[in-house]
């Protein structure tokens, strides 16, 4: 059985992007920019090509791990439901790592590189997954005995869910929904570079993971998110967008003078440098907190 939720959802993605563009054009609630959108769509298209070309690496890895599984989970609706929830938890762990470990950030930065936040941003997907091998985060699910097809199915549904939350058009969902599910409001915070919003809301589908693991930050109506990355790219070139951080790592490694520096440049948080002269999200937040307390010492 071959059932690819992402492929099936593609016509809906296209129609929704068109609908959002028309809505924004006539309501002014949001922004679209031609070159930014073109880059996002090309990144999405390219990620399908790269995924098809290198998908065999995950399949090969899965077949290496699966002989050591604890049991074999048979296809059933409850099994798919449990797999979906656990897969979302592994997504949370991967996503948090992708913001805290430069090696995984090198791939994921692509998705954050737009200064816009609209449905086309959801399609701005990385090309370098085959380099970072982020799929190792699925290992626990393979060891629990979930079949590869089931992982592909729930992973696809997870990705499709995350499409609609990339919008400024929807302000808030009903309170019960905001409490449990990832929503446009929660995900706007995740894409924001405001110091107070950095490194928050890593959830894929269920925002409860962030609440459980202390990474949840609600959207503040008084502080509008500014999107992009700490050092925004000055290019729309898709190849530079896809691989700039990998090249940055390579350049840093070429100048490394010790094993500590090598390890730091690869595995420390993005922005780490041996002399601390570059900005990490932690240092930005710290500086922002200092600046804020200096401005209002009574607080």
């Amino acid at each position: 059985m071959h059932f690819d939720p992402t492929q099936l959802a593609t016509p809906a993605f296209i129609l929704l992007v068109i609908a959002e563009m028309l809505f924004i054009r006539f309501s002014g609630r949001g922004r679209y920019e031609v070159r930014d959108m073109a880059t996002s769509l090309i990144m999405g298209f390219g990620s399908v090509i790269f995924g098809t070309a290198f998908g065999f690496i995950f399949v090969w890895f899965a077949h290496l791990v699966m002989p050591y599984r604890l049991m074999t989970v048979a296809w059933s609706i409850p099994a798919v439901a449990i797999c979906f929830v656990l897969d979302d938890l592994t997504y949370y762990v991967w996503h948090r790592s992708a913001h805290r470990i430069r090696w995984f950030w090198a791939e994921h930065v692509t998705h954050h590189s737009s200064q816009h936040y609209n449905l086309s941003t959801a399609l701005r997907q990385p090309w370098g997954g085959f380099l970072t091998i982020g799929f190792i985060f699925k290992t626990p699910l393979l060891l629990l005995g979930f079949p590869l097809g089931m992982l592909a199915l729930v992973g696809g549904i997870n990705l499709v869910y995350q499409f609609w939350i990339h919008t400024e058009v929807i302000k808030k969902m009903p309170r019960w929904f905001e409490a449990v599910m990832n929503t446009p409001s929660h995900h706007r915070v995740h894409h924001a570079t405001n110091a107070r919003y950095l490194d928050a809301n890593y959830a894929g589908v269920f925002i409860v993971w962030d609440k459980m693991f202390g990474s949840f930050v609600p959207e503040d109506e008084n502080e509008r998110p500014r999107y992009g990355i700490v050092k925004n790219l000055a290019t729309f070139n898709p190849f530079k967008v896809a691989f700039h951080e990998f090249i940055g790592i390579a350049k840093d490694l070429a100048s490394a003078r010790s094993l500590r520096e090598v390890v730091g440049y690869i595995f420390a948080p993005p922005g780490w440098s041996p002399d601390g002269s570059r900005e990490t999200s932690d240092s930005i937040k710290q500086r922002w907190a200092q600046f804020r307390s200096a401005q209002s010492p009574a607080e």
Partner: protein
């Protein structure tokens, strides 16, 4: 294989059509700067930034600003309908030269294309070249 080629062609046509529609609906907006906008943008990127001297390029698409706290020099420049900021220190600027009223900048950051910041006045360009060298 034939299906995959159709899928590929359909995708390329689809992407082109959507970009065309976006251009039709939104045009090709280019952001413009004034000193206040540039300083506000830097205040976002550099918490605590305090505006010292500043100079706007003749096309109002770039501005050079000094942080009054430490004398560091910053560039704010338009990219599409948004802005990108960079510190202009020796660590960041690979080469800087002046050609009349224009400053030519090349960066170590390979994602940042070489920039020509043309001012109205040659003295302004000279002044900012000197500030960059000191920063």
């Amino acid at each position: 294989m034939t299906t995959q080629i159709y899928y590929l062609v359909f995708s390329i046509v689809g992407v082109a059509a959507m970009v065309g529609l976006c251009a039709f609906l939104f045009g090709r907006e280019v952001a413009k700067l004034d000193t206040r906008t540039a300083a506000a943008r830097l205040a976002y990127d550099v918490p605590g930034f305090r505006l010292g001297n500043s100079a706007l390029s003749a096309d109002t698409r770039s501005a050079m600003l000094e942080d009054a706290r430490d004398g560091s020099v910053w560039l704010v420049t338009a990219r599409g309908d948004g802005f990108v900021t960079r510190r202009l220190s020796r660590r960041d600027v690979k080469a800087a030269s002046r050609d009349g009223a224009a400053l030519n900048l090349r960066f170590f950051d390979f994602t940042f294309p070489a920039a020509v910041i043309a001012f109205h006045d040659e003295d302004v360009a000279r002044d900012w070249q000197m500030r960059m060298e000191r920063a």
